[in-house]
Symmetry: C2
Subunit: 566 residues, 2 copies
């Protein structure tokens, strides 16, 4: 490729709209162009990188027995009604009516289409296990697209779906896929990706992992214990709750005029936040009743955990016009007559002598005892973990909260889709059963952006050979001097004949511009052909990471390049 | 691949919903599954074929300097308002509102996105010419999807866009792309594809070609002259009109009670249809005035030609409540006071002594002379060509109408998009100009179906090696006999080591089932390992097209396979 012909300009200046490193370099390097909020076109260098990433993913999916298919972007409403997700999912599912007024949607994930594809064929246990995958465009109408390719609305994704006849078999395959994912991240140049336990969210199922590149640009927060290696997404990380050591006390109403927050209550009573019962009220999607969550005053409600428990989206409320709740003074006692649902966090289990709202304006109760004063059938884990908490896993390390980019996820789905969509097979015992599913995703564009976050310097991305848009970048200095262009183009042709992907800067610009552009393109090996060095029969060669930079005899140049690229 | 693991069943019976050969075999062979009207999932064999077709297209696009990009499926309304197509295109453009109530659409073609991608970068003539292409999913809400993958709503397409600084340069590149297309069709196994002149339709521009596989399954009609090789889509084919040889006559009103059709008039007057003026009335999209077309009575109006002339969609009318038109008796004279537009077909030019409507119920005029009795500024070509017409190109051959599948199309677009979307460059003379565009499409799935239409027998598709889902299909007969399975699997592994793509029928089924499935999978080379032949140290080998079928020494089998596959 001649650089003069390459589409997409490179820019010196940081674009105003970008703050993440990957976003900045994707724009400055002529990799992407925004078409709409969260919707991008890929220019040739990005398309080349993405194709190489896709091929690596394809090879690793094939290596664990995956069969590549192609499922549609546009699907009819009926398919998603079968699984119940047509209603369960909100505005992030883009919907439209076709010319015959039929309800259609844009696939943001493809469990339904995967089950549809195989449910009539895989009717005997002997067909199992199997895995299908695709690399296809998806659209998810994100409320807040951000960070260039980090969070977009339209994206290319590898999504895979496995089908099994037993939980053990799913777990075995899940582990194989887990390892294939680590191989993929290693091969694309980010071996540092870690797997963390995660929420299954709208996917359903119980076990799930996210593959995270830990870095500041990430929008996920992960609880990490350096002591034992415990890692979990904030959405599922379990806090190690140290219970209060109080004795029972007499229950008594206290006048607390206008004192409604935990902070104010703590000052008023001169007690730590952990001695109070905090209430939080939520509206629940598709439910008319509000939900009240009681949790210890030193903790926060984790909405992701809450969503999973109630099986629907939740929205915090600070007032409710129909239900008589005394906001600021809500407490667990005396709510029996009120039309609402209640959840108790496990932080309250067994606690004595707490202070809680009296469900009466300007009053709280003190001496409240969980066991004595109310009846709780079940405690749930809805609390957020905090930085500095003791690790629940090893009980000695301290939890740190770090940021990460989710570059892949895997889920054990169980029979959520196969049962709701009536996919059955005849098992070895003659019984009809629903197969057990797993699903496995990798966002291709986000993965490219993550590689930049992990591998860059002040001047641009540092692509690994495996996914670099080209292998070798030839700069030509003083190209008007005799013999310089000739040598450079001869080298270019020789390298191309050896199947290297080469880009040559044929623009005749000064060294500064050429080097800045080469840094933005991030090609692993750079060859600098200059009049001065050529006079001494020398060629300069360096690597993009700036670790190697040397003059070599011009007759040795191809050998040197080969050794850098193997 | 072990056939027992392959997803997708094969069926003996012709599916009720299919009538086209390609549709039948795609369903019977386990290649595709319908998800909704005109929306299909691809099973592994089809995905493998499609990927190989895509790679061939990619190589040929790269060979003429194409740069691969990726444009979005979902685009904002504003982009298509710039070109004017948001309004100009009807229900086939799928539209939806995103979560912020913003109007979005699904790309059915990508001229707008292509211009958007490059318009800020290609600002100097020195960047030109260039071509970008993508292979991406599109959605076109077809009113009548049909024939499996022949006419669908969602499809994968290679679309390319070239940009030039002169018409000559566009024509030069257009020719290169024309040749690349022929190479593509040759490489995927249908060298018989022909290029025909075509209408530019909603694309705009003037010159366009369609690449047609001529076969009964096609839904396009092409006018062909076997004498001179003239080929054109019915939509643009020009009829060779033989003018009447009449003398001028006196204009006279004739009472023609209830006689309104050309057939009835011909009987009434005892004259051939070519002596009458036929009128056809149309509503024009975005126009309140009706359009009357006058054409000779022996010819029909070609609506595609008409659409192009008026630059909008047209709909035939048989009545009009606001405009005083005397349907059945409409003629060219005395329409000056009526609010309408008129087009005269070139078949009427210079004609004398015709019979036309008198714009008065139950009356016609005879002796009507085009020159003498009305004033016509311009005649247009809006007539349909008919089978049996003399060829206008060679003036001696006879036009035949044949059916064809359109597998590709190329358009010279001119500046329709660059002018409307303000894409400019500075030319060598310092002037700001709009670049001249071409665009070039190939539908990948339809191409796969077209290969089946061209290459099949009664039992299934006959894939060429270049796009076959696998190269070699091993059938194993009497696999329970000693040594049979061992030999077959050893051969399987050896061939795989040589990078052949091999499928082995490991199901232990009878020969009939194995051969029927092998025919449906259409793999070029079949190896039949059987106990009987193995005893004599022989292996049967045959090609899918049944032209070669022989026994070879088992030690020669790999050599024989190699020779069949090169």
């Amino acid at each position: 490729m001649r650089l003069s012909r390459l589409l997409g300009e490179r820019y010196k200046e940081k674009p105003a709209e970008a703050s993440l490193i990957s976003h900045i370099f994707l724009l400055r390097g002529g990799y992407v162009k925004q078409v709409s909020n969260g919707i991008y076109s890929l220019l040739p260098p990005a398309k080349r990188i993405v194709s190489k990433i896709e091929q690596i993913i394809r090879e690793e999916m094939d290596s664990i027995g995956g069969q590549e298919v192609l499922l549609p972007v546009v699907m009819p409403k009926e398919l998603w009604e079968e699984s119940g997700r047509y209603k369960a999912i909100g505005a992030e599912l883009a919907r439209f009516k076709d010319r015959n007024d039929h309800d259609m949607l844009l696939g943001m994930t493809h469990e339904e289409a995967a089950v549809h594809l195989v449910r009539n064929d895989a009717v005997s246990y002997s067909k199992y296990p199997f895995m299908i995958y695709q690399i296809q465009t998806k659209f998810r109408d994100e409320p807040r697209p951000r960070g260039g390719l980090i969070r977009v609305r339209e994206f290319t994704m590898k999504d895979a779906y496995s089908f099994h006849t037993s939980q053990e078999d799913l777990e075995k395959f899940y582990q194989e896929c887990f390892e294939a994912y680590h191989r993929i991240f290693r091969r694309v140049g980010i071996p540092e990706v870690v797997a963390v336990g995660s929420d299954t969210g709208m996917m359903g199922g119980n076990v799930a992992h996210e593959f995270m590149l830990l870095c500041e640009a990430g929008e996920d927060t992960i609880a990490v214990c350096k002591q034992c290696g415990y890692k979990a997404n904030l959405e599922v990380a379990r806090a190690n709750i140290k219970h209060n050591d109080c004795s029972e006390n007499i229950l008594k109403e206290v006048h607390t005029p206008d004192i409604t927050t935990i902070d104010d209550l703590a000052s008023f009573f001169g007690l730590p936040a952990g001695r109070f019962v905090k209430s939080a009220v939520f509206a629940v999607q598709n439910s008319s009743k509000p939900l009240v969550v009681f949790i210890r005053g030193d903790l926060e409600v984790n909405e992701a955990k809450l969503r999973k428990i109630v099986g629907a989206n939740v929205f915090p409320l600070t007032e409710h016009k129909d239900v008589p709740l005394c906001f600021g003074f809500i407490g667990p006692m005396g709510l029996d007559e009120v039309e609402l649902d209640i959840i108790f966090d496990r932080s309250l289990e067994g606690e004595l002598n707490l202070i809680c709202g009296a469900n009466k304006k300007d009053y709280h109760m003190k001496g409240f005892s969980m066991k004595r004063d109310i009846k709780v059938d079940k405690y749930y884990d809805v609390s957020k973990i905090n930085s500095g908490d003791r690790c629940l896993n090893c009980n000695s390390g301290v939890i740190e909260l770090v940021r990460g980019i989710e570059v892949g996820n895997i889920f054990q789905l169980g029979t959520k889709y196969t049962a709701s969509m009536n996919m059955e097979y005849t098992d070895v015992d003659g019984q009809r059963k629903n197969p057990i599913m797993g699903c496995y995703g990798i966002g291709v564009g986000r993965l490219m952006a993550a590689v930049i976050e992990a591998r860059h310097d002040d001047y641009g991305p540092i692509w690994p050979v495996s996914i670099a848009p080209w292998h070798i970048h030839i700069c030509v200095l003083n190209s008007n001097k005799e013999g310089v262009n000739e040598f450079a183009f001869e080298l270019y042709e020789k390298l191309r004949q050896q199947k290297y992907e080469v880009i040559i800067d044929d623009r005749g610009l000064n060294a500064g511009v050429q080097f800045a552009d080469a840094d933005l393109l991030g090609i692993p090996v750079r060859v600098i052909v200059s009049a001065k060095n050529l006079e001494a029969n020398k060629i300069e060669i360096c690597t993009r990471d700036k670790k190697i930079k040397k003059l070599v005899d011009k007759d040795d140049i191809i050998k040197e390049i080969q050794s850098l690229l193997t």
